[in-house]
Symmetry: C2
Subunit: 303 residues, 2 copies
Amino acid sequence: MPALLSVDWGTSSLRVYLLAPDGTIDDEREAPLGIMNIGDGRFAAALEAVCRPWLDRHGPLPAMLSGMIGSRQGWIEAPYLPCPVDGDTLARHLTPIPVEGFGPVLLAPGVTVRGPDGVPDVMRGEECQVVGALALSGRRDGRFLLPGTHSKRVEVADGRITGFRTYMTGEAFAALRHHTILGRLMGTEPGDGSGFERGVDAVRGISGAGGLLHAIFAARTLRLFDELPEKEAADYLSGLLIGAELADAPSPGKMVTLIGGEALVDRYDRAAARLGIPVEVAPPACVRAGHLALARRAGLLHA
Amino acid sequence: MPALLSVDWGTSSLRVYLLAPDGTIDDEREAPLGIMNIGDGRFAAALEAVCRPWLDRHGPLPAMLSGMIGSRQGWIEAPYLPCPVDGDTLARHLTPIPVEGFGPVLLAPGVTVRGPDGVPDVMRGEECQVVGALALSGRRDGRFLLPGTHSKRVEVADGRITGFRTYMTGEAFAALRHHTILGRLMGTEPGDGSGFERGVDAVRGISGAGGLLHAIFAARTLRLFDELPEKEAADYLSGLLIGAELADAPSPGKMVTLIGGEALVDRYDRAAARLGIPVEVAPPACVRAGHLALARRAGLLHA
């Protein structure tokens, strides 16, 4: 019997898994109904449209939601909890949203932390993935990296998220590639990996924050002098940015657990190998496992 | 009597000064005829359209050209000379372009250098400004900074350009501001300078190349937590990037001479002051003085 709707609701898409109490996927659906694509606040209608067949068959199921759906531009703004936080703390601060035809619909909070400079950082959705990764592995300590538009490096100690740091790696890459001169001499065909590796290797030569503003220009000059094939130039820039992100960590020799989609995790995996950073890859089920863990703590499951 | 057309021809605009042998400006014209706005290679026609009244009055004047007009996308590709180069070397490698109705039309070469990592860097046009700054000041040593879309930091020793470094500061700022999430919470009204100063101050806390990918996210999170006024957010990002560029230099206590437009030079001036970097501002006539110096060395002027 299905017991929970696990809802991963981001900026561009909505993914729902129908889960059994042990986390087995009974069914899943994905729709291009990210929060940016939903007009007039019609979030309930969007969720219902995706879940209707399941509700008809199984009755009013409970749902656990996380991601940008809890942001100011989303359905309801869920609070940011300050670090350190663990699964219990998250489960005690779920935001209920009454939705007809569903059981309890609960929105996970985001997490915030202040850096050493006092500047706040935020995440929404990644905290559930980390809780899921901990649940799946039985571990209580580690460093997690969730690559993406806004990558997150998350530190966990004694079962709690103690801190994290956002890197605009993915979005900076897209902006530089598509909206600066760097894109002009870049091909669109996929590279063979050599450009990516050269980009990662170039990270060791970067002198600091400002050095990155210089280093990215190499993606143009190497092309100008025909010292980098056209199809490798985008990957060179990608390797440079991903490598710079990976290299920016206290005790960089510490094992990193990668959580995310296969293609991007593979890039980070290859970059880490070149930089001598030990990595392991989490199973793809982290979001669902996180939602299940929160649902269990919130008493939604009677397993 | 006018003796030279000094032509500063970049990506988006064409500026021509009618100069007397002593560098006095007899007249000047500017047109939105940058190389990106000229179709079918009609560069001669563009130059003639701008200079026609002067040619009619004074006969076939010689012209010295520099900037992106000498790039692959420009009129004729002028070579890049390797560092070290001085005004004499530049003057010996001018590319002549026969243009009816003009005297000799000469295109200045670009300059190239390899970084410690073997990656080439390039400039086109800035070398003439530096030669001009040296001519105007009578100096033979210094560090010059030419802020812009692609900023250049240029080292000069014994009258020669010995090395330089490009920073994509201006273009990265525009791409991040207009094509990432950072722009969403930014106002368009001008700030009061406080956001810029905070951005510059934040540079000291950046941990390295990857740290910059993190630090820029503060332009969003500070807004999310209402810890930075809307109209200061763009300036915060600007201060962060300009500060990072300025801080990236060997012996950062060395005096820097700023060459460029007033608004941008003022920003760099303020950022340098906060970072404790001594600066002076070059007079605005550097390009013209550079063209005049090259023209004299090339025997175009019989003064």
